[in-house]
Symmetry: C2
Subunit: 428 residues, 2 copies
């Protein structure tokens, strides 16, 4: 008998927008549509209970509920106090837990809803993105002993003074992992509208296939690929507390992807996945004087503007001048370009060239540590497709290349194909 | 400087159904419609603050929110656990307090939302209709000291184990009165879509006018008239704790009706108001044996079916037989009739006659205690209109008559007119 934490997101409880199709009059409360969703999840939980497991359920707010609440607040004021927003947001998950508990009881599963405060999730006194300080699992343990399924509100906690707080982006996933860690669960399952983590995006590469097992570190590197699947904060949390994760579909009972501590045989897989990011843009400042402190100057100024820089390349040319190239999220591109132009002028650089039509493609795998030539095999695959590499960046388990945005799909396909056979051998 | 509790109901925060007219796409969240409502209330609160008062705001759930949540739960299960329903219901008021606090801040009024649990409303451990055990006003007092307006969620509390509870029908009014009592507020105001308590329903009697001051006891007797205005539970609460109430309109700044402890001059007004109830039905069991215990038998059986009986008349005829006549809410009529027929047969009575086409009209006023002939003046007013009285019931400050439903409007007008001059003199 295992103890499993099962987390169901907003899409499992009421697809965004789709509710409307069933009941045009009441988008949020398309009652039968919502009822079907809850009944379906109740059956998943029941199946696990019937198989002899103890289950703790964690739920998000239904579908668009959170966005609707934000829209409503925005229409009242342009200045939203964080404390009041957390008070407002917390209601989304609270509705979900009550309805989920009702659905479980209707399916014959004794259940008991619990808010973040009731479940003992104590956070720091920061609104909107509080970090969990402690979890007092007494009440959870008591409910399980009594044979009931605790239904826990994701995304929320409370300070010691009982102020409502929320955990920020990906908060419901973090709730699930944190509870699994606190109560020493055997597994933390994430029920999604996908089958698991894929080697790459199947929409880009038809050969993409589900990964059976992947390490925390690989999952973290794949986060850009898996952004819609798992948030990196919750993977980091799982890694720190050694909580095995299982990303699976709520649409069928088949296994998904286990995200687990690194195993010896994982190194046999050279490349676990091919990730990519279309939302990057590149800025190049050329002809800067080649003296210490230039890079610190440049990125100090960029950082002050709260712009997160991804890749950085500095190239000291034969001319005794420096070229600095970096990538940022495309949303920050205009601002980064402006700042760069100012800096360039101040430091007496030559020019600033920006490029929004780029993309980043990355090969990720713990096998890289023990296999030589991964980078060169990747470059060769791109070269054979006639794809030019603009920037390269590597880590212990990742190689990333910046290329022309138009080449991205072909690049993903080529890299995926190049390492596919290594992988297939290992995933047997 | 006074301390005032101001309560705003669901109609003040988003009229039932009317939101739809403004934004057909999103009935619950017709954002601009809702925003206007909150901004309007914020101005009322601000006006009171600017006048130098300390204010505590109590709010209900927005418009139809509670009904929508119930509909959603009903579509999931036919069997709704009371604990989970309270968990669900509590979110309606929680959304209101957060949005209200946001609206107040936007209007430049420092505010702070508080759930029932945070405000220290401790209830007994009963879901759906919990009674308040205690209010710990520390947090309220602290917020007021800090110059902030506490915005309190009506209708809800928490047990000592932090279980969410709701206070049942009229619960938000009770929250307001209970807080006013706990914090020794100078006044508890109810902002409604009416100008106050009227001498009778203006739709029935054009001469009806707003009452300036009325005693708790009169207000309780008028509860059937004022059902949509104030719940009797909250009036009882106010009476027990001596909390002055002020029922007024949120549409303008004029004074409404003060509901206060009885004052000497109130007795000058013989009849404060004319109340009526169309939702009654009458059952007569005739020819019952005239022996002790018959009435107990009859009403014991009616009570077992959870039917509340209003008026009762027992008439021992010259034939040595008993006639028992009583009225019930029209919803309970069929069941009451069935039970009465069974009892009549068992006890050897003659027959059971039912009548749904009746109505009750009542004259209420503390002045009756010191003025003779009120009942006879009322009967005379009805007689002059040719209206037949079927049943009569009196209390210290009330005379009620059951009449033919078709005669009701004329009866109300006649009684109102008969006592109007007494009243007008007093309300100067």
């Amino acid at each position: 008998m295992s103890l499993i934490v099962q987390k169901f997101g907003g899409d499992a409880l009421g697809d965004k927008g789709k509710g409307k199709a069933r009941n045009g009059d009441e988008p949020l409360f398309g009652a039968q549509f919502i009822a079907d969703k809850f009944a379906h999840i109740a059956q998943i939980v029941k199946r696990n209970r019937d198989a002899g497991h103890n289950v703790i359920v964690v739920v998000s707010a239904m579908g668009d509920a959170t966005n609707r609440l934000i829209a409503m607040a925005n229409s009242i004021s342009g200045n939203l106090p964080a404390r009041e927003m957390d008070m407002l947001m917390a209601t989304g998950e609270q509705q979900s837990i009550a309805l989920m508990a009702i659905a479980l009881e209707a399916a014959g599963v004794p259940a008991c809803s619990m808010t973040g405060s009731q479940v003992g999730i104590i956070t720091e006194n920061v609104f909107g993105k509080a970090r969990i300080r402690d979890i007092n699992a007494t009440r959870l343990e008591k409910a399980i002993e009594e044979g009931r399924v605790p239904v826990v509100a994701g995304f929320q906690g409370a300070t010691e003074e009982l102020e409502f707080t929320t955990l920020g982006r990906g908060g419901s996933d973090i709730t699930a992992v944190a509870i699994a860690a606190a109560i020493k669960a055997d597994l933390c399952e994430f029920y999604k509208d996908v089958d698991g983590i894929f080697t790459t995006d199947p929409r880009v590469c038809a050969d993409a296939h589900k990964i059976d097992r992947i390490s925390y570190d690989e999952m973290l590197e794949l986060a850009s690929l898996g952004a819609g699947v798992l948030q990196s904060r919750s993977v980091e949390f799982a890694k720190n507390y050694n909580v095995p994760l299982h990303v699976r579909s709520y649409l069928h009972d088949g296994p998904g992807t286990f995200v687990i501590p690194e195993e010896k045989e994982m190194e046999d897989v050279v490349v676990s996945g091919v990730a990519f990011n279309r939302a990057e843009a590149k800025v190049e400042i050329s002809g800067l004087p080649d003296r210490p402190g230039i890079a610190a100057d440049v990125f100090g100024r960029i950082g002050e503007a709260n712009i997160v820089v991804d890749m950085i390349i500095q190239d000291s040319g034969a001319d005794g001048l420096n070229d600095i190239t970096f990538t940022v999220n495309v949303d920050d591109y205009d601002q980064a370009l402006d700042i760069s132009k100012t800096i360039c002028k101040e430091l007496g650089g030559r020019e600033v060239i920006g490029n929004k039509d780029i993309a980043k493609v990355s090969a990720v795998g713990v096998g890289m540590r023990s296999h030589a030539n991964v980078a060169s095999r990747m470059f060769k695959a791109l070269a054979e497709e006639g794809i030019n590499i603009q920037m390269i960046s590597t880590s212990e388990i990742k190689v990333s290349c910046v290329i022309n945005a138009d080449d991205l799909d072909r690049a993903v396909q080529a890299i995926h194909k190049a390492f596919q056979n290594d992988k297939k051998a290992a995933t047997v």
